[in-house]
């Protein structure tokens, strides 16, 4: 019995250690945000308003291989909220954040995302959600927030099916098809895929593409558009494979396509669903010198950052290109970058400014309607109605934007990046090439 008890204690100790470490990953920001709220309410609110506060929900992938995407995005939201609170809050309200992680086992998870937004919907102080990051998570969340009439602004979703009726969006906002509650500041993959195809064909002069997607909403959607547009330009698609995110060995796929002589490999997906490993293994089978491209899922920060494309692929990341569905030349870039740098000691990520802009939209809507709403329910609905009204313009970090009748942004700008392995002090980074406004005409 004695030894049995010791065994139980040892196991319990390990369990506790394990639990602590798992909590430690997403917690650093969540804890201060949550715990600081009651304390900071006092200085923020005036004497008249007391401890009035509203909550902005955040749903992003914040652990595992998605950290490189989620963390800088979350910090963009945090920055906007901290600045608003430092300026005395919005219309007498202190802003709290409720941060949820939708990554399970290191990869974004639609079911977890749905659970997270259900929690946020149930909290009456939540006036809007920033997120999610990944399109398949969005597809699982929008039916819930649409039913509840809760405003949701995604900084990074690009799958057209989330908003556009011709891509099946009416099935996603089934409860209230005409009551838009989901808006986004990133443009869509029908444009991003087109941009990627044009860049590969025109800028890089590639003619034979091999396409791999991760079989998810975002990845397959983007890859399909790339395939159609690349063919339209006159290029050849030698093969289009789907590799589920459980794939760890890409060598059979690459071996099978080698004899078809592709001159560019395009990946539809994010780093965590295989982008980095695919690039790394291309070098192993002797295809390392080929150009490699992808969408915003792989343009995720410099080398050395946990889980970024360049970190995972290592030296093989050279000669890669990618697109971001947002403007690179943001207004006041210097000031934003400095404020972010000052707060977090690192450069902003690809979607930090977009997340900041999403938060600005929610806060500006709150500012506009706060006086008219009397109950939390009325406030939530008023914020949603104001933000999704196509006639309202928002002055954000991305510029002045509005949202159309489906919730899509009026900005249709794609930024192009290439890897430079000498950048970031030799660790390698994505360097901006150019950006292009695809306007309304390309829709």
């Amino acid at each position: 019995m004695q030894s049995r008890r010791i065994g139980a204690i040892a196991v319990a100790a390990v369990v506790v250690a394990g639990a602590c470490s798992s909590a430690a990953t997403p917690a650093p920001s969540a804890a201060p945000a949550g715990s600081a709220a009651p304390a900071s309410a006092a200085p923020a609110g005036s004497a008249a308003t007391g401890s009035k506060y509203v909550t902005i929900g955040v749903d992003l992938p914040l652990s595992g291989g998605e950290f490189a995407n989620g963390d800088p995005t979350k910090k963009g939201i945090q920055l906007a909220v901290d600045q608003a609170n430092a300026n005395g809050g919005i219309a007498g309200y202190t802003i709290k954040l409720s941060v949820k992680d939708d990554a399970v086992n290191g990869v974004h998870n639609p079911q977890q995302g749905a659970t997270n937004v259900q929690t946020l919907v149930a909290d009456p102080t939540v006036i809007g959600i920033v997120g999610p990051f990944n399109s398949n998570v969005g597809a699982a969340e929008i039916p819930i927030t649409n039913q509840a009439g809760l405003l949701q602004c995604s900084p990074a979703n690009t799958n057209p099916g989330l908003t556009k009726p011709q891509y099946g969006a009416l099935d996603i906002r089934k409860a209230f098809p005409n009551r838009i509650n989901y808006i986004r500041v990133a443009t869509t993959d029908d444009i991003q895929g087109l941009a990627g195809a044009q860049f590969a064909y025109n800028d890089l002069g590639k003619r034979r593409a091999y396409i791999v997607d991760d079989t998810e909403t975002y990845g397959k959607g983007l890859a399909d558009v790339f395939e159609a547009q690349f063919k339209k330009l006159g290029g050849t698609v030698v093969k289009h494979d789907g590799a589920p995110s459980s794939t760890t060995d890409y060598t059979p796929l690459l071996t099978a396509v080698q004899s078809k002589n592709p001159d560019v490999v395009y990946f539809g997906g994010v780093t965590a669903t295989g982008g980095g490993l695919l690039r790394k293994q291309m070098a192993q089978v002797g295809m390392g010198s080929l150009a490699f491209g992808g969408g915003d899922g792989i343009v995720d920060g410099p080398g050395g950052v946990e889980g970024s494309f360049i970190t995972v692929a290592g030296a093989a990341a050279a000669n890669s290109f990618g697109t971001i569905a947002a403007t690179h030349d943001i207004p006041n870039a210097q000031a934003f970058s400095q404020a972010y740098q000052k707060a977090y000691g690192a450069a902003p990520g690809a979607y930090s400014a977009s997340a900041y802009a999403c938060t600005q939209v929610i806060l500006q809507a709150l500012q506009a309607v706060a006086a008219t709403a009397t109950s939390p329910t009325a406030l939530r609905e008023a914020v949603r109605a104001y933000a999704t009204d196509p006639t309202h313009k928002f002055n954000t970090q991305l510029g002045t934007i509005s949202f159309d009748q489906n919730g899509d942004t009026s900005q249709h700008i794609i930024s192009f990046y290439k890897t430079d392995m000498t950048a970031a002090g030799g660790k390698g980074d994505w360097v901006f090439v150019r950006q292009q406004d695809f306007g309304q005409s390309s829709q």
């Binding site: 390990v14 079989t215 760890t248 060995d249 290592g314």
Partner: protein, 338 residues
């Protein structure tokens, strides 16, 4: 009897095994014809990894009828231990070009990692499973899932949540051309190591005193105990061997793919578990066979452009096998003949 315990060829290599050997040889020829030489080497390599992991599942199930869901994560720990040895104490960055030095490093790497992992296996058995040995079947199963999370979180705490790159000590350019394919020496090495370990395991289980203790414990634990078999020692040793083999798979993984990540044990473990069931859980030959079958299905799906469906193919084949042969391809038989 005692004097005959030296390592010899299995005495059972008689006529009764000819059909089995012929079937394996025939399958290999068909596999080669279907996917070509390059993919043949790919499938043997990844199949060897699955087979090594599957052996641990099948041995533990064979002896205490526990589906050790933490086994995939033991494999993952093996990868990190190997990665740490290479980049930490050895301080390596690139490939080792001197063959003699490479051999020394590899032998040391396998010895140290497999010993550490074997010890981890004994530790897990001692503190997580032995206290529950006489509990209802569900309790150790849930404990195994708990151990899986513990291992994942410990590794995540040490190495972070993202893939960690390891030095690739095998230069990837070391290849030779045969039958129109360019085969890496690393692939040959991996398959050779895996096959050598499997043969060693068969000899061990079939020819040694501890192996006999394992077989008797698997057949009837109480009867074995009455006959003087030290049950605790035998089960601990089973975990030692299974975990050491998972450690070998972890090393091979790091050598081949050049990275480790805290959750790599989930899918690898799932596929290896499927391999064990496919071959007949409890049967070590079956587990090895199942590993290669799954490796082949993945590679063939990629070759023919159906990679999107590779998981469907793997689990579809599993369902078909279980419908027509509920005990797996070779049946459950660790007890009688490992």
């Amino acid at each position: 009897m005692q004097t005959q315990r030296s390592i010899r060829l299995p005495a059972r290599l008689d006529g009764s095994q000819l059909p089995f050997v012929a079937a394996i040889a025939g399958s290999l020829v068909v596999a080669y014809a279907l996917v070509g030489p390059q993919q043949f080497s790919n499938f043997l390599t990844i199949g060897a990894v699955y087979a090594l992991i599957a052996l641990g599942y099948t041995m533990v199930y064979g002896i205490i009828e526990l589906i050790n869901f933490a086994h995939g994560d033991v494999f993952m720990v093996g990868s990190f231990v190997a990665l740490w040895i290479l980049s930490g104490p050895l301080g390596l960055h690139g490939s080792i070009d001197n063959p003699a030095l490479l051999a020394v490093v590899l032998v040391g790497l396998f010895l140290v990692t497999m010993l550490i992992l074997g010890a981890l296996g004994i530790f897990i058995e001692r503190f997580a499973y032995r206290p529950l040995r006489n509990a209802p079947r569900l309790a150790p199963l849930i404990t195994a899932i708990g151990v899986s999370f513990i291992l994942q979180n410990i590794m995540q705490a040490f190495f972070g949540p993202s893939p960690v790159n390891s030095p690739q000590i095998f230069t990837l350019n070391a290849r030779f051309d045969v039958a129109g394919a360019s085969i890496g020496y690393l692939n040959v090495f991996i398959v050779a190591v895996a096959v050598a370990l499997m043969i060693a395991l068969q000899l061990f289980v079939g020819r040694t005193r501890l192996g006999r203790a394992m077989r008797s414990t698997a057949q009837d634990r109480e009867a074995a105990e009455l006959m003087g078999v030290d049950i605790n020692l035998t089960i601990a040793f089973t975990f030692f061997i299974g975990s050491a083999l998972a450690g070998a798979a972890g090393i091979v993984w790091v050598l081949y793919f050049g990275y480790a990540v805290f959750n790599q044990g989930f899918y690898a473990g799932l596929f290896a578990f499927t391999a064990a069931v496919l071959g007949g859980i409890g049967n070590t030959t079956g587990a090895a066979l199942g590993g290669f079958v799954i490796g082949f299905l993945q590679v063939a799906a990629a070759q023919y452009g159906y990679s999107r469906w590779s998981e469907v193919a793997i689990f579809g084949v599993l369902v078909l096998v279980l419908v027509f042969r509920p005990t797996g391809l070779l049946g459950q038989q660790l007890g009688e003949r490992a």
